[in-house]
Amino acid sequence: MAEHLLEVRNLSVQFHTAGGTVHAVRNISWHLDRGETLAILGESGSGKSVSASAIMNLIDMPPGEITSGEVTFAGRNLLAMSDDERRAINGKRIAMIFQDPLSHLNPVFTVGWQIIEVMRIHGIAADAARARALDLLKRVGIPAPETAMRKYPHQFSGGQRQRLMIAMALALKPDIVIADEPTTALDVTVQAEVLALLDELQKETGLGLLLITHDLGVVADIADRVVVMNAGEIVETGTPDEVYHNPKHPYTRKLISAAPGRGEMHEPNAAGEPLLRVENLCKSYGSFKALKEVSFTLQPGETMAVVGESGSGKSTLARALLRLDEADSGHAYWNGRDLLKMPAKELYQLRRQMQMVFQDPTQSLNPRMTVYQLISEAWVIHPEILPKAQWRSRVEELLTQVGLSPAHAERYPHQFSGGQRQRIAIARALALRPELIVCDEAVSALDVSIQAQVIALLDKLRRELGIAFIFIAHDLPVVRDFADHVMVMQAGECVEVGTVRQIFENPQRDYTRRLLDAGLDPDPRVQAARRMPKVRAGLEVG
């Protein structure tokens, strides 16, 4: 049998924590060949990053412990090597790219220094390293490389920072590049560019690319083979096409069916008095115009999705409507009354009717309060809603409504998973019987299968309770499944508003089209067809 470039055999890793031993991965085996892209697909906690950490010697021991297995690279077992030998391989022959390049680049050194450093430690002379760094910056598409060398990570955009990471990883022409969720923190259009760059570079250099991701779309876009992981074990291996169209394991089937963007689109029947009518809303921070003349209307019980890339003003809009930040000018009529001009007393009543669910429930729920306290706090503030005698039963009712058990009322947020915490946040919002819930990226941090469940919950609440939603999201497939209307924002401006069908099937504006095109389809065949025009467009530009 031919030897693979990198092979992981029967690897088991466990972590000894205060809460007991966690088996991060159990007896996993996979291999990677030259010129190939292997994706490890899994949700959080599946152990998808653990083998990469083992390869790069990044597992802290203790608490980590490698209990079995070996990792062979170029015929040698990495796990049996000394630290010095492994350092000689890291960065030189196997390089790594991480999620969230802002925190993974050192904030106090220039990017030039950081790229040159990897070459210097592996024995390249200073001026040769500098010349190579300049070439690399040019190759990954950083404008003005000479100046860029002297800049610091915070002076670049998210996509550029990921390009810098890629440049750093490629500096020594490694045999293998490991990319751990390389595009997760990026906007869709930027994600498409970064994936295209990785793909090109791989073809150019023939390196083996190991891609760790939770995103079926990313797998469909660039993987040659995929390994699906769940709860520390490999459940399925195959080409993306096989795995997507003929999944064998129930978990894979569940994962694929949870992928958003393929349900029936809503057909809103707009009629009657709007619940909320926003006119020419403006907001500036200093000279930066965050919102420029934004207008839209929202009917009771309907969902307005607000989509756009980071910095487009989505969250500013939400904050201005809830009066967490004051708008500079414009109107927002709530049942006919301008809520931007309401005095404090009326606003207090209004707060009951408009609730918010935030992106990160770990941060937005007070860790020192029980679920009962978190939910009933709403009634402490608004005592007219419910007499105290009924609080307990109502909390239990709400927990049932959001799919949790009444027995959970006495637990604390940290005892729940991310998806469960988001359910608590939703129950808390429901406690006030609102007419409108503003969801700011409320499902973005959740795993796909959990995301599908939370969306189903929100949909049920809309049908049963007639709650309207302003649904801020960057993930278009989710929006497609959940929204009635969509507003596309760019640089503080409303680019296009329409029903979900109009926006997704017949977008009028270039920006909307670009946004839709940049999205990745989980079906490898659809995605391959979608890539062709993009590649052609790329060739024309290049």
């Binding site: 350092r87 969230d100 050192n106 904030p107 430690i121 915070h154 990471m165």
Partner: protein, 304 residues
Amino acid sequence: MGKKMMRRIVSSFFSLVALVVMVFFLSRLTGDPAALFLPIDATQEMLDQFRELHGLNDPLIQQFGRYVWDVLHLDFGDSIRKARPAIDVVLESFTWTLQLALITIALVTALAITIGSVAAFRPGGLFDRFVSLVSLIGASAPDFWIAIVGIVVFSITLGWVPTSGTGTVWHWILPVAVLFIRPFGLILQVVRGSMLTAFGSAYVKTARAKGVGNRSIIFVHTLRNAMLPVITVIGDQAAAMLNGAVVVETIFGFPGVGKLMIDSILQRDFNVILAAIMVTALAIFVMNLLIDIAYTLLDPRLRT
């Protein structure tokens, strides 16, 4: 940057004015220097003459006006006790204090940063536990006690160093050592904590994946990131020392500004008190400025 600096200078100036006003009137409350300076059997005539000479008969507000006017002309008045310009007396002592503070802070900074960083690299290890214990004892022991024990052990019993005074290098050893202990313990703990946080950060993972060695991870990649909170504490400690290490200076008979201030207060030498306060305030202001500059040098994100 320039604008921020201007604001800083202006606000510091107002603080200094407020301080001078307060100290001027408060020190007058302690009583009349004439009673302390003249012999106990001095005649009324001598007392009147002394008061007239030093302008103590004028209304307080007039004395204050005159003082401010003189200060604006860089005349800080004379020391009653030493019959020389107060500012000369103060600067002489301040030079001693400045040397003592600089030597001590330099030693503290160098040692606390190196030892704290290494300790944080393997938290809970033998070295870390030993260092934590020592620094905790250091940070909690009262300096007057350490000073006295130091004199008893090293000067009297062993006879290695002189008990007090100045003159040779040997005279400096005990004062510096005693002053060193407490800030060393404190700063070491801050360095250790700050480094621990920094070791957990994502860029350290990147450095490991690049193949960077441990020494470079500690002293290049993390140290600079971990220094910001440390610098603040170093600044606080240095400020305390510039104010004069009263206890240590008194015990070791060290002619610093702390000892000078205490003596001047006890003897109601008002001009010296005021001049000393202005000089130390200026020194602390300059030091804070240096810390601000160090901040921006260390962290490029603060440069905008």
